[in-house]
């Protein structure tokens, strides 16, 4: 993957819902199918890029199934599309299938849970710039916080398929076990690097899980795991790269560690987006300008969401 601008054939497409599966409490995986021009456009989708879903006309779940903390928000009449990245993209004949891992946090994602096979959804994309692989890399560390695991799962797939010279590992963290967006029992998951997370293991990539409260995997911050792990292998820092997606405080720490160790680092940023395609200016990310103390605002949706970790002012 080279660093380039978003694909030329983006547009508004209609996707058919294939499946929408709850994987744990608040986490779901949605599978969408594109045909025709949409299949073509999304076949070029890169890990870290995103798409904007229109969920305005999607029904709410029955009132009694809505979690209490979301019952007030649920009543809000939504207007704007919502940005999501993909955890997988596969081609099947002339169709393109995409998977979205999502967390139920408000009115739009609540509506998303009622999407079922047979429904369709309007989607704009592919949007933004994804992760890229600079030359000379031999080792990639994927650092995920909570929902950040989504795009990194797809990155793991592409690294394995297209970059046999790069060995990748994944570190996935969350506050507590129930905020980890993975299937299966996590309370007994290994504290060591291994093939414990199927989403990465299926691509032959080892992983470690960390939780702040110790309820799953390593007891502590995922960024501490990163520091520890970087202290271990004696690969030259130029041949390594860190890819990260998750809460901004975590990204800030990851970028700081990368800077200390002089390792390349890419972070996927999140901003509230009104449009997602560069016209509203709502998604500003403060960035450094090289050789200057000045900063500028770049647009998360157009210039990102993936940025060089050194560039972002956290």
């Amino acid at each position: 993957m080279t660093k380039n601008r978003s694909s030329a054939n983006k547009g508004v497409f209609c996707a058919a819902v294939c499946a929408n599966r709850q994987i744990r409490q608040r986490f779901y995986r949605l599978r969408l199918e594109f045909s025709g021009a949409g299949a073509e456009a999304f076949s070029n989708f890169k890990p870290g890029q995103f798409a904007e879903l229109d969920l305005c006309d999607t029904a709410l779940p029955p009132a009694k199934t809505i979690p209490e903390d979301l019952s007030n928000a649920a009543g809000r009449k939504i207007l704007l599309r919502r940005p999501f990245s993909f955890t997988d993209v596969t081609m099947q004949g002339d169709k393109t299938l995409v998977d979205i891992l999502y967390c139920v946090v408000g009115p739009a994602t609540l509506r998303m849970t009622t999407l079922a096979a047979g429904n369709s959804v309007s989607i704009i994309g592919p949007l933004g710039n994804g992760f890229w692989v600079p030359g000379g890399k031999k080792r990639a560390v994927l650092v995920a916080g909570g929902m950040g695991a989504g795009p990194l799962e797809y990155l793991a797939k592409i690294l394995t398929a297209d970059y046999p010279g790069i060995e990748a590992i994944a570190l996935a963290g969350a506050k507590m076990a129930k905020e980890l967006p993975f299937e299966g029992r996590l309370d007994e998951i290994s504290q060591q690097l291994g093939f414990s997370l199927p989403v990465f293991a299926k691509y032959g990539i080892q992983s470690v899980v960390a939780t702040d409260d110790g309820s799953a995997g390593h007891h502590g911050l995922v960024t501490d795991c990163l520091s520890e792990w970087l202290g271990g292998p004696d690969l030259a820092s130029e041949s390594m790269i860190i890819y990260s997606c998750g809460p901004e405080v975590m990204l800030a720490r990851v970028a700081e560690i990368a800077k200390e160790k002089k390792i390349d680092c890419q972070v996927s940023m999140e901003r509230r987006m009104a449009c997602g395609f560069g016209v509203c200016q709502s998604c500003a990310v403060e960035c450094r300008v090289s050789d200057s103390s000045e900063t500028i605002y770049k647009l998360c949706c157009e210039d990102g969401p993936v940025f060089d970790g050194m560039e972002v002012v956290f």
Binding site: R76, L79, R271, R272, M273, G278, V279, C280, C283, A284
Partner: protein
């Protein structure tokens, strides 16, 4: 079927192929929506506010969604006049829609400087004077709430604008919008556009802080439409009709029915704002929908519909 319907309008001397614009701040500087629609189908196009120097704008969060609406506090972030001329004007030159450059600034001199510099550019049909931005401390809305200041800035920019059409964009956050409209027209405004966003606030009750970094923002979208339709009708009846000044109506327009409501209320043309974010090709659909409405209702020329609100006898 639609061939016989004439949806072209005369807007302050500019011939528009149809009465649909895209609104400032929601369609970029030039052809950004081109990936989603044929922008040459637009009647008019209004750029993001341009200031003399580039502006970074406010910290984030800059937007928050509300019930059927959204607040924005972008802070007039824009690339500035020089870059606009260098990078965007050449693109605008190729557009068939009537191009209006939205002007903003902190002092009258700044507005005048931008207008003067662009007054002879053939790519531009006119200016939209933004004296109604609720999101900047200096300039912006403060020019748009005092009739004396409205007159002063309008006449200064009118001089600088030369042959170009000057449209003044009004804030709805005033006691009597007609007083402001009259001041603008008295000072030489060729057209009026309304409304800009309503100053508003959203509070996070857990943190007890305003959600937007700027604390307040401007409310737009379907939530404001009925108030904006009323204000257009009021300005049409109290000022624009008698003075022969066209109105560009906007606020929450999402479909042709919304657009027609504004036209009946007194708008000669309409602008689509927030809806571009959700459906970036919706302006083209609205144009088609207006044609269909005219056919269905035997309206031979859309201009006959302007201000056609019936008064009960």
């Amino acid at each position: 079927m639609n061939e016989s319907v004439d949806i072209s309008v005369d807007f302050a001397g500019i011939h528009l192929a149809n009465p649909v614009f895209t609104a400032s701040g929601t369609c970029g500087y030039a052809d950004e929506l081109g990936e989603y629609m044929d922008i040459n189908r637009l009647g008019g196009f209004i750029t993001k506010s341009i200031t003399r120097r580039p502006r970074k704008g406010h910290a984030t969060p800059r937007i928050v969604e509300t019930n059927s609406g959204m607040l924005n506090a972008i802070g007039l972030a824009n690339i500035g006049l020089d870059k606009f001329i260098e990078e965007k004007l050449p693109v605008l030159e190729k557009m068939s829609a009537a191009v209006f450059v939205n002007l903003a600034g902190e002092t009258i001199n700044e507005y005048v400087a931008v207008a003067e510099r662009l007054a002879n550019e053939k790519a531009i049909a006119g200016f939209e004077l933004n004296i109604s931005c609720p999101n900047v401390k200096k300039g912006g809305i403060s020019f748009g709430t005092e009739p004396v200041q409205v007159k002063e800035i309008t006449s200064a920019v009118k001089k600088a604008a030369g042959e170009k059409v000057l449209m003044v964009k009004l804030s709805p956050t005033v006691t009597d919008i007609s007083v402001i409209a009259r001041a603008a027209v008295d000072a030489g405004a060729d057209a009026l556009s309304l409304v800009n966003t309503f100053t508003a606030m959203v509070i996070d009750i857990e943190s007890r802080k305003a959600v937007l970094a700027n604390k307040t923002g401007g409310l737009s979208g379907p939530a404001i439409k009925p108030i904006a339709v009323y204000l257009v009708n009021k300005v049409y009846n109290e000022v624009a009709k008698d003075r022969g000044v066209p109105i560009l109506g906007m606020g929450g327009i999402r479909n042709a029915s919304d657009a027609i409501e504004y036209i009946i209320a007194g708008a000669t043309a309409v602008a689509v704002g927030t809806a571009n974010f959700v459906e970036p090709g919706c302006a083209a659909k609205i144009i088609e929908g207006i044609k269909k409405y005219c056919t269905r209702n035997n309206v031979a020329q859309i201009r006959d519909l302007v201000g056609s609100l019936l008064k009960e006898e």
